[in-house]
């Protein structure tokens, strides 16, 4: 069982030292937080305003709620996806290749696996900031429907962890920054447009709706919308399990491939 051995090796190399990596990224971010906040916080709010208020004017209700109410949970999920994806591709690649920060950290007792975990914690933190900002704006303007929405942050974290891991996995294979164009077009934009952020996926042609089920963002959007609508369905629990499972699998894959990339 070589597979089990590998997992054991990875576990063996993990400790709370990963938090030092998270803290390092936070400290570096503090010096440039202004432009970063524009991208992670302001941009999703622009989407929300433009589509929710603009397009929303022509759509009087969708599943019984106003259009902006419909898209708020979707924008929470998609903005956290984007924040994690940007951080764990362009950001992590810069630290891994351009500035050799990973290499510098590896001169100390911190392991590759701890760097990976710290990077994912950081990508997830960025996702959290972005998603929470949208949630707060939704609350302030009264676009949030049920108090159950207060559980949405749990799923922002999970969604962030998934997209941060997935993006770091892509980074482990990436020969240059250009490579990320494929990822953003093929994976990220597709999920943004087809995961039920802007319309119920049931309105897609039947054949397309199958593809929806392989998109992690679909599950995040769906579960956040259930919570927002106050629908306490067992699906929430199942999705929690599924999304946690996906993020754990992605973490191990990413740890394995980043080690391959960094240690010759």
């Amino acid at each position: 069982m070589k597979f089990i051995e590998k997992i054991k090796d990875i576990n063996h190399n993990l400790s709370l030292r990963a938090l030092a990596v998270l803290y390092r990224n936070f400290l570096a971010w503090l010096k440039i937080y202004k432009p970063s906040i524009i991208g992670d916080v302001l941009e999703p709010l622009l989407f929300l305003a433009a589509l929710g208020l603009g397009v929303g004017k022509f759509i009087h209700n969708i599943d019984g709620i106003s259009y902006i109410e419909f898209i708020v949970p979707g924008i929470i999920a998609s903005s956290s996806m984007y924040a994690a994806a940007f951080e764990s591709t362009f950001g992590s690649y810069t630290r891994m290749v351009t500035y050799r920060t990973f290499e510098a950290i590896l001169l100390t007792p911190v392991t590759v696996e701890e760097i990976v975990l710290g990077e994912i914690f950081w990508g997830t933190s960025k996702a959290f900031m972005s998603g929470i900002a949208v949630l707060i704006v939704g609350l302030v303007f009264g676009w949030i429907i049920s108090p159950l929405a207060l559980f949405i942050p749990v799923f922002i974290l999970l969604n962030g962890a998934i997209f941060s891991s997935l993006s770091l996995l892509i980074t482990s294979f990436s020969p240059s920054y250009d490579f990320f164009s494929y990822y953003f077009t093929i994976a990220i934009s597709t999920m943004f447009l087809f995961s039920g952020v802007f319309y119920p996926v049931s309105s897609l042609p039947h054949i397309l709706s199958y593809f929806v089920f392989v998109m992690p963002l679909y599950y995040s959007v769906h579960v956040m919308r259930l919570l927002d609508l106050g629908i306490l369905s067992p699906a929430i629990f199942y999705y929690f399990i599924i999304l946690s499972f996906i993020s754990i699998i992605l973490f191990y894959l990413t740890a394995f491939f980043i080690r391959k990339r960094v240690i010759k």
């Binding site: 400290l27 010096k31 050799r100 001169l107 100390t108």
Partner: protein, 238 residues
């Protein structure tokens, strides 16, 4: 017992042998030199010792610990200055040191004390809040060495730490290294400056094409023969 023991070490990169069956030991307190032409394998050897490169075969023990198994424990006693600059460009001079000490698990208090000590030792105190990007090459190199000392390492490994520095900076770094060695640190260092090698190294190996061609005490290697520079050129021309 020798603090570093290297036995039959080989490394192949896609079939190309960067190191071929290299064996030697380093005693505690030594100032040990690695010299050899470009591409001889010095950096590869050092990178293996600090676990950035996995050897194809061979055994390494550091302080009696097996590098393959106990590389995490070993990292606590190593101070490493790699050939290429990898200072944290996003952070200030002081933050470069304090963050580094977190990687070693130093407490906040210890970390600040140690960082200030090192800034003083390397005459960087008045630049503590500068961005790393704004430092000259010589100052960056000093910061690289300061960073490597944050954990009070027993063994210091430096890969061409003085290349590209003016004579004054170079002398300055020599003095610091000699002092550290006198205080008990074991030093393993590579260089292309033969004058530096003769002056600093107590023992050395000369590598060529991944193999050891000369080894011994510096004074024995140069005794009643040519200068180290001539010996080097003879080897490089072969």
């Amino acid at each position: 017992m020798d603090i570093i023991q290297i036995e039959n070490l080989s490394k192949k990169f896609d079939g190309f042998a960067a190191l071929n069956n290299v064996s030697f030991n380093i005693t505690r307190g030594d100032f040990f030199g690695l010299i050899g032409p470009n591409g001889a394998g010095k950096t590869t050897l050092l990178r293996i010792l600090y676990s950035m490169v996995v050897p194809s075969s061979g055994n390494i023990r550091i302080k009696g610990l097996d590098l393959r198994k106990d590389y995490k424990k070993i990292k606590y006693i190593l101070g490493i200055v790699p050939q290429d600059d990898n200072l944290d460009a996003d952070l200030s001079v002081l933050d470069n040191l304090t963050i580094y000490s977190m990687y070693f698990g130093l407490s906040k208090k210890e970390s600040l004390k140690r960082s200030e000590e090192l800034l003083g030792f390397f005459d960087l105190s008045d630049r503590r809040n500068s961005k790393v990007m704004d430092l000259s090459g010589g100052l960056r190199r000093r910061l690289m060495i300061a960073r490597a000392l944050i954990n009070n390492p027993e063994i210091i490994m430096l890969d061409e730490p003085t290349s590209g520095l003016d004579p004054e900076y170079r002398h300055n770094i020599w003095n610091k290294l000699v002092l550290l060695n006198k205080e008990g640190s074991t030093i393993l260092m590579s260089t292309h400056y033969m004058e530096e090698a003769e002056r600093l190294f107590k023992n050395m190996v000369i590598l060529n094409h991944g193999e050891i061609v000369v080894r011994g005490k510096t004074e024995d290697i140069t005794r009643n023969k040519k200068s180290l520079e001539e010996i080097f050129l003879d080897i490089a021309r072969k």
